[in-house]
């Protein structure tokens, strides 16, 4: 058995433990669990990182191309963003939603090695690496922005209904959640823009001008336009609460659709013949 599988399984167990222990930390007013969640999560991140590096080293390329590699990389980016937000804003509440997602993402890659062949011609192309890495970061930040909007809604409802103690009493202040939602979107925009541009350059070179009519490409452009619109609306009208959640959800759904559109794309295929 490959070593990376062992490290990944250790990380999986630790993520499972932190997913469970973060629940009482967020839902009750006791913060004694926090002392436990933080070190377990950091340890999980460490094993996860080692496993990913080992996984890439074994396949002799640094581009997360197979489904297992993409899932493992995406999960790692989620962990990094969660820890960064925790250290910057002390907002542990995100963990209640993100840590189980990370756990689920790692379930399949930790179960068995990936045998799906990937075409070798792309694996040493720097543009591909840039394209995938930037878009994964953008999707991660988009997910966090959506989560922030949801948490904003919960906190707003609580304050409106005069529910101060009890469940969710440790949610971050409204203003902090709003800052997280907006900043993740702002940082995500250049990542998404550059990621899509890098993808366009690769497609232009390999397929020619016809790539523009591919459903995946069209949906990606639609997603980018929606993303920029959301940012503009939030920036200029101060959109918050319910409407912000709807808009973030729409962009996120669009992003998922773009992901699914791989099945119908003729230009976005990297499997070995």
């Amino acid at each position: 058995m490959a070593m990376y599988l062992i490290w990944l399984r250790v990380a999986l167990v630790l993520y499972g433990v932190s997913s469970l222990t973060v629940i009482p930390d967020v839902l009750t007013s006791h913060d004694r669990w926090r002392k436990f969640v933080q070190p377990v999560c950091v340890s999980a991140f460490y094993f996860h990182l080692v496993a990913l590096v080992e996984m890439m080293r074994l396949t002799h390329h640094w581009v997360p191309a197979s489904l297992h590699e993409v899932e493992t990389s995406f999960a790692l980016l989620l962990t990094i963003t969660f820890l960064a937000i925790y250290w910057r804003y002390r907002a542990i509440s995100f963990g209640m939603f993100v840590l189980p997602v990370i756990f689920l993402l790692l379930l399949v890659p930790a179960a068995h090695p990936d045998h799906a062949p990937v075409s070798n011609q792309w694996m040493h192309n720097g543009w591909i690496l840039l394209h995938i890495a930037l878009l994964l970061v953008a999707y991660t930040l988009l997910l966090f922005s959506l989560l922030s909007s949801l948490l904003y809604l919960i906190q707003e409802r609580r304050l409106k209904n005069k529910q101060i103690g009890g469940i969710f009493s440790h949610l971050p202040p409204l203003d902090t959640i709003d800052q997280i939602a907006f900043r993740t979107l702002v940082i995500g925009l250049p990542c998404m823009t550059l990621g899509l541009l890098a993808g366009s350059l690769i497609a232009q070179e390999s397929v020619g001008a016809a790539y523009f009519l591919d459903p995946k490409v069209l949906l990606s452009i639609g997603m980018w336009v929606l993303y920029v619109s959301m940012l503009y609306v939030r920036r200029h009208t101060g959109l918050r609460g319910k409407r912000a959640v709807y808009l973030s959800s729409l962009v996120f759904l669009m992003a998922l659709t773009v992901w699914v559109a791989n099945q119908f794309s003729t230009v976005h295929r990297f499997a070995a013949p």
Partner: protein, 495 residues
């Protein structure tokens, strides 16, 4: 444990009584010195806050007349005072002190100031030599218990006054209040208090508005002087206080993050249409209305506007009461912690009571061993040095094994406070006689002759970890004229 505590608090005595015994911070040192000069008082400290005045002493023997001290120092009739005074002894003192430091005996259970006040009194007493080998570990333990209660329960987490609830809510909306703008509408006392609390938390600017401009100017003056004092003491950056005319109220209100309203107006001042305009101008940035007025100044319909949070006096009181009841629940857990800690501390103290018996037993058996070896010396003279070492080792091992069971019995009896069993063991091994004999041996000789048996060494190590050496706690200046007498200098303490 000859610990004695006498005092009054908010439960036992009305304010008129407490204020007669209250000691200002400037006079605390002098009062503690006077307490230490009472015959039989070896160590002592005084805790004086607005809710309690307590005199904690370690006496040897426990016969000090603290009532006499109170009569002399405060020039009060102690007979009239007696119904209001409480007195605790031994483990009751430990329990009371742990509860006071953990804020379980406070007027508002869980309030954080009391621990600082206890530490202040301790620092004063320690600086003049009032806290030594008995009170030092007790006070350190009290601080540890207080921290444990804070960390393991949520007793001090939630706010229980209207002003602090308002600040907490503002924090839940805005996070930090640094740079936030407050508008205080009206001159109600509670509104002023809430605004002042917000200022203390770092609010950057405060607008004051009143129907009469003179009153607004008067308030501005008060807030300016308050903020100036706060900035001088380094509490928080000085916020700007500015009076605004009533005519421009709604213009300014749109720029305020927090509006505190407490006017005597019969009709609401802030209506839904005003709030909608505010939110449009603010680009939906949240606003917090604290409506302390009765009848209400803020139209309840405003609460329906997205991004605006309205809390009236009933809402604030509901939160405060709910927090109080949460504190009461947490107090049960805290009491359990204190109970465990008191038990552990008293057990530890009792086990230290058994130490002299253990020492006497070990010394007695060691003496027997040495005597026997000396007696047999001529008959063992043909043995080689290696064989002599083996004999030495064997006799020592024999003594260790023989003393193990009685030492365990002494420890058990001491921990359980079983004086009868202790007396039986002392009688069986003739320990009292042995102790008297060793008392007659000059100290230096005694130290030279004593071998350090293992069990005793462990006991001593434990003791030294628990009880700091008196010299370590005594400040450099404690030998001065003003310092209290040391134990050897004390007089009139014999029964």
């Amino acid at each position: 444990m000859n610990l004695v505590l006498i005092g009054v608090n908010h439960k036992s005595a009305p304010l008129e009584v407490r204020e007669r015994l209250a000691i200002p911070a400037a006079r605390l040192e002098d009062a503690t010195l006077s307490l230490l000069s009472v015959p039989c008082v070896r160590e002592g400290m005084i805790l004086s806050t607005c809710n309690r005045v307590e005199f904690l002493t370690y006496q040897e023997p426990a016969q000090a007349d603290l009532l006499e001290f109170i009569r002399n120092y405060f020039a009060v009739d102690t007979e009239a005072l007696r119904p209001y005074l409480y007195e605790y002894r031994a483990s009751e003192v430990v329990r009371h002190l742990f509860r006071v430091a953990s804020s379980l005996d406070s007027l508002v259970v869980g309030e954080p100031q009391i621990l600082g006040q206890v530490k202040g009194s301790y620092t004063v007493a320690r600086s003049i030599g009032g806290v030594n080998s008995t009170l030092e570990p007790l006070m350190q333990r009290a601080f540890t218990v207080a921290r444990k209660v804070r960390n393991r329960t949520s007793i001090g987490v939630s706010s229980v006054s209207i002003a602090s609830v308002a600040v907490d809510l503002a924090r839940k909306i805005f996070g930090s209040l640094q740079g936030k703008t407050v508008l205080l509408m009206g001159a109600g006392k509670m509104g002023e208090l809430a605004a002042r609390s917000l200022m203390h938390q770092g609010a950057g600017k405060i607008y004051l508005c009143n129907r009469t401009d003179e009153r607004a100017a008067e308030l501005t003056e008060k807030f300016s002087s308050c903020s100036h004092a706060a900035s001088q003491s380094g509490a928080s950056p000085s916020p700007v206080a500015q009076a605004i005319p009533y005519a421009s109220l709604h213009e300014v209100a749109a720029t305020a993050d927090i509006i505190v309203s407490s006017t005597g107006s019969e009709k609401p001042i802030f209506l839904r249409q005003h709030a909608e305009i505010y939110m449009h101008r603010r680009k939906q940035r949240p606003m917090f209305f604290i409506d302390i007025a009765v009848p209400r100044d803020v139209d309840p319909e405003i609460d329906r506007v997205e991004g605006i949070f309205v809390y009236n006096i009933d809402d604030l009181q509901t939160v405060a009461i709910s927090n109080l009841s949460n504190r009461a629940k947490e107090a049960l857990d805290a009491e359990a912690i204190v109970r465990d800690e008191v038990e552990r501390y008293t057990r530890r103290m009792h086990s230290l009571d058994g130490v002299p018996s253990i020492v006497a037993l070990q010394e007695s058996l060691e003496e027997v061993r040495q005597n026997e070896l000396r007696r047999m010396a001529s008959r063992l003279s043909h043995l080689s040095s290696e064989q002599m070492r083996a004999v030495e080792q064997m006799t020592r091992s024999l003594v260790h094994k023989l003393q193990h069971a009685p030492i365990q019995a002494i420890k058990r009896a001491a921990q359980e406070g079983d004086r009868e069993t202790l007396a039986v063991i002392q009688s069986v091994f003739d320990l009292e006689h042995h102790a008297k004999e060793t008392e007659n041996v000059p100290a230096a000789e005694n130290i030279q002759n004593a071998s350090p048996p293992t069990a005793m060494a462990a006991e001593r190590n434990n003791e030294s970890a628990f009880v700091p050496a008196p010299d370590a706690t005594r400040p450099a200046g404690s030998g001065s004229k003003s310092a209290p007498k040391s134990i050897s200098e004390k007089e009139d303490c014999l029964p």
